[in-house]
């Protein structure tokens, strides 16, 4: 199929799979009078037959595309984001082990992935004792770090399909982590926003329950700019506002799947209001005036 062909150009009318694939994957710069061209080319006997075939092909194509995207959704994401975090953590741990070991023969040894990358690429330990296993370990660290990057890319591509609103508000990676912590999009959608606010803070929460620490104000959402970029006195409000919007986003994603750009705009507005308190005490801000902070 070229850029000037219709969806029916490369298949016959009984090739249902081929036609559905052409609907999904094809493209053209300009539309043309496809029904007439299809009849002229002998693809269909008349317009009625053409439209009947088009109905079957678009329905099959759309069904397949929807199924694929839905399967690519939360369960796949949960595994992918967990694997990504495991790869990253393991790469960092091994990089530390590598630094200790390489430090015995390399005066410039440093911990971190960059050092491993450098060592694996340069082979500069040649001739030193242990050069071979050390360099090989460095290569494994690099592989794991690259795997983590690839998984991150996968998560960034898939999250907007699985949870468009959550991805828009939280960013795709944090969105995937929240889904993972909740155990799926559905259970995230069913959690009250107070729970969303402390997801990932369970360790801190248990410490608090055992009497060791103060009540956690925010879980993993503390990594969001809306919280990080807010001065500490107002972080409680910021993370509560953020958690509220994220809960709404998760519900819209789970129950309807529509993308609602206004959610993001509302969040921005809300956070700006909270941050504005830092300047001038927010006296002109009636909406947040009645809110009590922890």
């Amino acid at each position: 199929m070229t850029d000037t062909d219709g969806w029916f150009a490369d298949a016959t009318r009984d090739d249902e799979e081929g036609l559905a694939a052409a609907v999904r994957e094809g493209s053209a710069t300009e539309p043309r009078d496809w029904p007439r061209e299809a009849v002229e080319a002998g693809f269909a006997a008349d317009e009625d037959e053409y439209y009947d075939t088009l109905h079957a092909a678009t329905t099959a194509a759309t069904h397949a595309a929807v199924t694929e995207l839905e399967q690519a959704d939360d369960r796949q994401l949960v595994h992918a984001v967990r694997a990504m975090d495991d790869c990253r953590r393991t790469a960092n741990e091994l990089a530390e082990r590598l630094a200790e070991w390489a430090g015995t023969v390399d005066s410039e040894a440093a911990s971190g992935i960059e050092y491993a990358r450098d060592l694996a690429a340069s082979g500069r330990l040649e001739g030193e004792p242990g050069a071979k296993p050390i360099t090989s370990l460095a290569a494994r660290v690099v592989d794991l770090a690259d795997e983590a990057d690839d998984l991150r890319e996968y998560v960034e591509r898939q999250t907007p399909a699985a949870a468009p609103n959550l991805a828009a508000l939280a960013g795709p990676v944090l969105a995937a982590r929240l889904i993972s912590l909740a155990g799926g999009l559905e259970s995230l959608a069913k959690k009250p926003s107070g729970t969303v606010q402390v997801l990932g803070a369970e360790d801190a929460l248990f410490a608090h329950l055992r009497g060791h620490a103060s009540s956690p104000k925010h879980g993993i959402i503390y990594t969001h700019d809306a919280v990080r970029g807010t001065r500490s006195e107002d972080r409680g409000s910021a993370s509560r506002a953020l958690a509220g919007k994220l809960s709404i986003a998760a519900r819209v994603d789970h129950y309807s799947g529509d993308y609602r750009p206004e959610l993001e705009a509302e969040l921005v507005e809300r956070i700006e209001t909270i941050q504005a308190r830092a300047e001038g005490g927010g006296g002109d801000d009636a909406e947040t005036g009645g809110e009590t902070d922890d």
């Binding site: 094809g26 493209s27 539309p31 678009t58 759309t62 529509d258 993308y259």
Partner: protein
């Protein structure tokens, strides 16, 4: 208010004790029915609201009228369109509502679902035919004018664009009237290669949809 003729296949009928717009087809969203007629709820449909408020949409109805519908969602409105018009292409890019759209399509042989992004017409120009009579657009996303301009290539020279502009999708913080003015200016401007639209009629749809503007336009 003069009431321009409704398209063939759309009638005002008394259903469950109230006069309502109605089309003939399988029910889709729990709307009240009377025999084969089903009520078209303008509260749930911007095109329904445009018709209910007497806008001159230029819609004729009948099986030769061809429609490209952008932002079909789960099919509430496009199901009515397919009931009264001919071949109807329904573009929607979110998978979940499209799943519901598929069941709407089952009983409507001239309704064609497409899981595509309306900002990328090349991805469906090999399927959607040229010179459709009507483009209905209800995408509720930022850049509504751009979507209309990008899809102008599908519209016949004497065709109509029926557009619902949602102010909050462009900018929640601005006055809706300012947002509408900007979107209309963009529509009329267009870019060199695409050409713009001439706006024929606008009307606030607030009675049914807060901060929405209904627009009827034709290619310029």
């Amino acid at each position: 208010m003069t009431d321009p003729a409704l398209p063939q296949g759309v009638e005002r009928r008394e259903i469950s004790g109230t006069r309502r717009l109605a089309t003939r087809g399988d029910p889709v969203y729990g709307e009240p029915t009377d025999g084969e007629w089903r009520a078209w709820n303008p509260q749930r449909s911007k095109l329904g609201a445009m018709l209910a408020s007497g806008m001159d949409t230029g819609l004729e109805g009948g099986e030769t009228e061809r429609v490209l519908y952008l932002g079909a969602a789960s099919g509430t409105t496009v199901s009515h369109v397919a009931d009264f018009a001919g071949p109807t292409y329904a573009v929607e890019f979110a998978p979940r509502p499209t799943r519901d759209l598929l069941s709407v399509v089952d009983s409507r042989p001239r309704l064609f679902p497409l899981l595509k992004d309306a900002r990328k017409p090349e991805t469906y120009a090999h399927v959607v035919e040229a010179d459709v009579d009507v483009i209905v657009q209800d995408v509720a996303t930022r850049g509504q004018a751009r979507v209309a301009l990008e899809n102008r290539r599908f519209l016949a020279d004497d065709g109509r664009l029926l557009l619902a502009i949602k102010a909050r999708s462009e900018d929640v913080t601005r006055d809706p009237d300012d947002v509408f003015a900007d979107v209309l200016a963009d529509l009329e401007g267009g870019d060199e290669s695409e050409g713009g639209y001439e706006v024929l009629e606008t009307q606030r749809l607030d009675e049914y949809h807060v901060d929405h503007l209904g627009v009827v336009a034709r290619p310029r």
